[in-house]
């Protein structure tokens, strides 16, 4: 906050939080070699600032300069919180990796209006639209409903490819590009995981759910563009159903190759012979 410069409130708070984290880390390191050490429990700062609003509608703080009167007092209080409290009060990290509003084709002004109602990415827009209706979101954000529908279509969760894990399979394992009602996915009998590639695979309510023969498969790793699910030890061929975060369902037929199935081997392939046989 030097001189005439002003800063966004979130940058300002982040910079203080970084400093407080440094203090906690330093004090915790000291406790390794010392019997007694202290922890900073609360920290508050009364700042004399001028609060400004920039043309984009962002609140900025400008430090009060020498002999400048009329500054506001902003009291910022920081305290220590526990990990469960963080989990309760912050959105899931996976959701933050959802496509941004920019990526689903919204203009800066449209993004700003959506951010004012707490929508920062495609997953949150999808969640709010399915909860309150697209018309309500359009009315609250003062956006055209067709623009919103266009953005929702671009950010709609999709599954593009399903492959067995952990090894990268040959292309023959992918479902066809023009899928029939239930594309067939072939996997080796010993495949431990199934990888689903797509977009929007993690919503605000959690990741997409995958069922094999109506039995839910546990999620090993969930990301916006990839979901890894565990397969049973002896998977059986059957219906693979993927319920996406927006409620849509995609179905496949999973075909488990038999245990004795081996890829065809060319007879002309170089045969193994004892070394002396070649001499």
């Amino acid at each position: 906050m030097s001189g005439a410069g002003s800063f966004l409130v979130e940058d300002f708070i982040n910079s203080i939080t970084v400093q407080l984290d440094k203090v906690q880390d330093a004090l915790r390191l000291k406790s390794v070699n010392r019997p007694l050490t202290y922890a900073l429990r609360d920290f508050s700062l009364d700042l004399q600032v001028f609060v400004e609003l920039d043309p984009q509608g962002n609140v900025r703080f400008r430090n009060s300069a020498a002999n400048e009167t009329g500054a506001s007092t902003v009291r910022l209080g920081f305290t220590t919180i526990t990990k469960p409290m963080i989990d309760e009060n912050t959105i899931s990290m996976a959701v933050t990796r959802s496509p941004s509003l920019d990526e689903i084709g919204l203009a800066p002004e449209e993004r700003r209006r959506l951010e004012q109602i707490g929508v920062h990415n495609a997953a949150q827009l999808q969640n709010l639209s399915s909860t309150t209706g697209t018309g309500t979101v359009a009315r609250l954000a003062d956006l055209r409903i067709d623009r919103l529908r266009q953005a929702l279509d671009l950010g709609r969760p999709t599954v593009k490819q399903v492959t067995p894990g952990p090894t990268q399979p040959p292309p023959s394992f992918s479902p066809p590009l023009n899928p029939s009602p239930s594309p067939i996915i072939r996997i080796p009998f010993d495949a431990p995981h199934l990888n689903l590639h797509g977009s929007g695979l993690v919503g605000v309510g959690g990741p997409a759910t995958v069922r094999l023969n109506r039995q839910p498969l546990s999620v090993l790793q969930a990301d916006d563009d990839r979901l890894i699910v565990n397969l049973p030890e002896t998977p059986r061929s059957g219906a693979l159903e993927v319920t996406l975060p927006d409620g849509n369902q995609v179905s496949y037929h999973l075909e488990v190759e038999p245990q004795n199935h081996r890829p065809p081997v060319s007879i002309d392939a170089d045969r193994w012979e004892p070394a002396e046989g070649r001499m």
Binding site: M1, S2, G5, F7, D11, F12, I13, N14, S15, I16, T17, V18, Q19, L20, D21, K22, V23, Q24, A26, L27, R28, S31, L36, T37, Y38, A39, L40, R41, D42, F43, S44, L45, D46, L47, Q48, N63, S64, A65, A66, N67, E68, A71, L76, G77, F78, T79, T80, I81, T82, K83, P84, M85, I86
Partner: protein, 88 residues
């Protein structure tokens, strides 16, 4: 003002509350109210927050604005789960 990061100032203040060795006294809790000169500088596109007590007790119209910081310091317990965060 000297460009001292807020973290360095706070660590020095926390260090300062320890009772002298050999006295048999232990400070278990302290609340410090400290005037601070603060400034922020953009370094590699991220803001770094500097804060330090005023370099003089004199008041004049040309000295930087003095702000007020309050710290509550306690003896650390074995609670590794606690981390810093904002309460605003």
């Amino acid at each position: 003002m000297n460009q001292i990061e807020l973290a360095d100032t706070l660590i020095a203040l926390v260090e300062g509350i320890e009772a002298p060795p050999g006295t048999g006294l232990f400070v278990t809790e302290a609340e410090l109210e400290v005037p601070m000169e603060v400034s922020g500088v953009l370094i590699n596109n991220s803001m770094v927050f500097f804060a330090a007590p005023p370099h003089t007790r004199w008041k004049s119209g040309v000295l930087p604005q003095v702000h007020r910081a309050v710290l509550r310091v306690e003896l650390a317990e074995d609670d590794n789960a606690s981390v810093a965060g904002s309460q605003t």
